[in-house]
C-alpha cells in the first residue's frame, strides 16, 4: 500500500533527493545537523551527508545568508534554513541588497534557496508566526514560492534548488503535519512561476497561496452545497506569479476574492488585486475583494490570534458578499 506523505516529509524528501542527485547541494543553518532542525526537516541528514554538507552554524543569520551567497557564487547550491521565517530580518540585507542584485550588476549567479518556516495558527506570537513574503515581494531578482500541498512542497523545493537565482521557499508550519497526500515515485518538479486551479467553478474566484488555499477549498465545499461554484486558484509561486492563470479565472467568473494569511496593507494581495483590476476590469461584476490578517503584529493568545487570521467563516462571509453582487 502506498503511504501518504506529510507536507514536512515532502520537504525532507525533496531536499534529500536533490542532495543525493547533486553534490553541489548543501544545507546550512542553526541546529540542522545533530538535532535535525527545529522542525526536523533535516533529521538523519547529518549521518547520510556528513558535516560539510549539513553545516551547523553559529546563531548568525546574516553570516548564514552571506555564506550562502558566497558559496553559490563559487559553484555550490546552498539551502539555508532560517529556524523561523521571522529571523530572516537579521539577514535581510544579504537577500535584498546582495543575493537579489548580483546577477543584474555583474553577472554572477546565485543559485541559493532560503527555507522559511512561516505562518501562524501555531500560537507562536509576534516573532514565530509571521509571513514574510511582502517584505521581499518587491525586490527584483528574487523568486518566492509558497506551496500548499505536499506534492507542490516537494516539487517546488526541487525546482528552487535547481534554479540559478535566489529563491525564498515559504514553508507553512501549520501545514507541516496536518496535510498528507500520496506522492509519485518519479523525480518531478513543480515549475516556478506557474499556479494551478485547485478547484473549478464559474461563480466566483479565490486567488490565494499557502495555508489559505485550504480555507478556500473548505469554503468552496460549503458553498457548493448551496449551489455556488467557487474556483480556487492556487498561485504556488508569488514571485514571479502566474498572471495569466489569475486573469483567466477572473475573466471567467467576474468576481474575485484575493486571500492570504499575511497582513492586509501592502500585502501581496494588493498587487494581485491591482493586476486584476488593471487587466480584467471590463469582465468584473464586483470590485476585487481582499481578505487577509488584520494589520497588527501576530498576537499570541488563542482568541486574539483567531480574530487576527482569516478562517473559513471569514472566507465564506467574503464570498457570500461577492456572490450577492
Amino acid at each position: 500500500m502506498v503511504k501518504p506523505v506529510t507536507y514536512i516529509e515532502a520537504i525532507s524528501q525533496g531536499l534529500r533527493e536533490e542532495m543525493r542527485n547533486d553534490e553541489s547541494v548543501f544545507c546550512l543553518g542553526e541546529d540542522i545537523g545533530v538535532y535535525g532542525g527545529a522542525f526536523k526537516v533535516t533529521k538523519g541528514f547529518l549521518d547520510e551527508f556528513g558535516r560539510d554538507r549539513i553545516l551547523d552554524t553559529p546563531l548568525a543569520e546574516s553570516a548564514i545568508l552571506g555564506t550562502a551567497v558566497g558559496a553559490a557564487l563559487n559553484g555550490m547550491r546552498p539551502v539555508a534554513e532560517m529556524q523561523f521565517a521571522d529571523f530572516v530580518t537579521s539577514g535581510f540585507n544579504q537577500i535584498v541588497n546582495n543575493a537579489a542584485k548580483v546577477h543584474y550588476r555583474w553577472g554572477g549567479k546565485v543559485p541559493m534557496v532560503v527555507r522559511l518556516p512561516c505562518g501562524g495558527g501555531v500560537h507562536g506570537g509576534p516573532y514565530h508566526s509571521q509571513n514574510v513574503e511582502a517584505w521581499f515581494f518587491r525586490v527584483p531578482g528574487l523568486k518566492i514560492v509558497a506551496p500548499s500541498f505536499p506534492y507542490d512542497a516537494k516539487g517546488l523545493l526541487k525546482a528552487a534548488i535547481r534554479d540559478n537565482n535566489p529563491v525564498l521557499y515559504m514553508e507553512h508550519k501549520y501545514l507541516y503535519r496536518r496535510i498528507k497526500e500520496v506522492l509519485p515515485d518519479d523525480d518531478y518538479i513543480v515549475p516556478i512561476g506557474r499556479g494551478i486551479i485547485r478547484r473549478e467553478g464559474n461563480d466566483v474566484t479565490v486567488v490565494t497561496y499557502g495555508s489559505t488555499v485550504h480555507l478556500a477549498l473548505e469554503a468552496a465545499e460549503e458553498l457548493e452545497k448551496e449551489g455556488f461554484y467557487v474556483e480556487v486558484v492556487d498561485m504556488l509561486s508569488i514571485l514571479p506569479f502566474d498572471k495569466e492563470l489569475m486573469l483567466d479565472s477572473a475573466k471567467k467568473t467576474g468576481k474575485v476574492l484575493v486571500l492570504h494569511e499575511d497582513t492586509l496593507t501592502g500585502g501581496v494581495g494588493a498587487e494581485f488585486s491591482a493586476v486584476i483590476t488593471e487587466n480584467a476590469f471590463e469582465y468584473l461584476d464586483a470590485p476585487v475583494r481582499r481578505l487577509a490578517s488584520i494589520d497588527t503584529p501576530v498576537p499570541y493568545s488563542p482568541k486574539l490570534e483567531e480574530f487576527f487570521m482569516p478562517n473559513t467563516e471569514k472566507v465564506l462571509k467574503s464570498l457570500r458578499e461577492l456572490l450577492a453582487y
Binding site: T57, G66, V69, N97, N98, V102, R105, W106
Partner: protein, 342 residues
Amino acid sequence: MPRTVKNTGIKQKKRSEPGEYSSLLSKKELNKLLYNMKLHRESEERILKLYRQGKIVGGVYTGSGMEAIAVGSAYALEDEDILVPLHRDMGAHIVRGNPLKRIFCQYLGRANGPTKGRDGNMHMGDPELNIYGMVSHLGTMMPVALGAALAGRMRGEKTVALTYIGDGGASIGDFHEALNMASVLKAGLVLVVENNQYAYSTPNSYQYNSKNIADRAIGYNIPGVIVDGNDILDVYEAVRKAVLDAKAGKGPTLIEAKTMRMHGHSAHDDHKYVPPEKLEEWRAKDPILRFEDHLRKSKVFTEKELEKLHDKVLMEIEEAVEFAEKSPLPEGHEALEGVYAD
C-alpha cells in the same frame, strides 16, 4: 626598509620571519608590484580628472595612499583564490587581471564594462576572474567571502577568499558574524582591515574604543596581525602567510593595515576635517615613493628603468581612457535585461 610583521600587543605568537615570503619575490615580481601600484594611483588620478570634466556621472572614491594594501594583498593570492575587493581597492582589481579598459568603461557607464553600465565605480565583479563585486553596504561582503572559501573546501580545493573592511565598516555586525563563524568553521578567510583612520569624516576615536582593530582577533581565537599599510612588502608578507595558513587548513587571519586616506572620502569631499599636519606626516610615508626608494637603494632598478615604467603606466591609462570614451553607452531599454539568471 623595515618590515614589521607583528602580532597585536595581546597575542604574542610568532608569525613569519621578517621577509620570509617577500624576500622570495623576483625582480620581475617587484616590478609588477610597483607597476600595479602606479596603475592604481594614476588611474584614479585620471578618473578624478574625468570626474571634474563632468564625464563621470556618479561618485568617485579613491584609494590614494592605500595602494600598497590593495596591490600587496591581492598579489598574495593564487589564481584559484577568490578576491572580494572594496571601494578603495582598485589595485586589487588590476592585480587580478580586471583590464583597465573595462575599468574605465565601468566608470564611464559604458555597455562593455563589467556591469554594462548597471552599476558604477568600484561596484564591479567578474565571475571569470573570481572577483566578487562589492555591494555598497559595508560589511556585507565578509560572510560572502567566507562562503566562497567554504565552497571550495567542500569540493576538496584549497580555496582562500580575501576580503577587506575599513575602520568604519569594522563596526558593523557582519564583521563579528563572519569572523566568529570563519573561526568556528576554520574557513579559509583572510580579512584585511584597511585602517585609514577615517570613515568618511568620522575619526577612529569616534569609531571604536581600543588601540587596534586587530586586537579583536583574540576574541575569535584567530591570529591578529598588524602591518604597515604603506609598506607593500610588509602587506604582502602578512597576507601571503595568512593565505598559506588558510590553504593549510589553519583557518582565518585578521590583518590590520595601518594607513591614511590621502584624498577626501569621495571626489566631492573637501577633506577639511583632517589636520594638514597629519596629511603631511603621511605624505612622507607615501607607499609608492617608499617602494621606489627601496628598489633604487637596493639597486633592483635603475633610475632609467623606473622612469620607463612610469611612462608605460601613463600610456596604458591613456589607451584605456580612449577605448572607454569610444565605447557605446547602453540603451535605455537594456535596463530590463539580466535581472534573473537563466
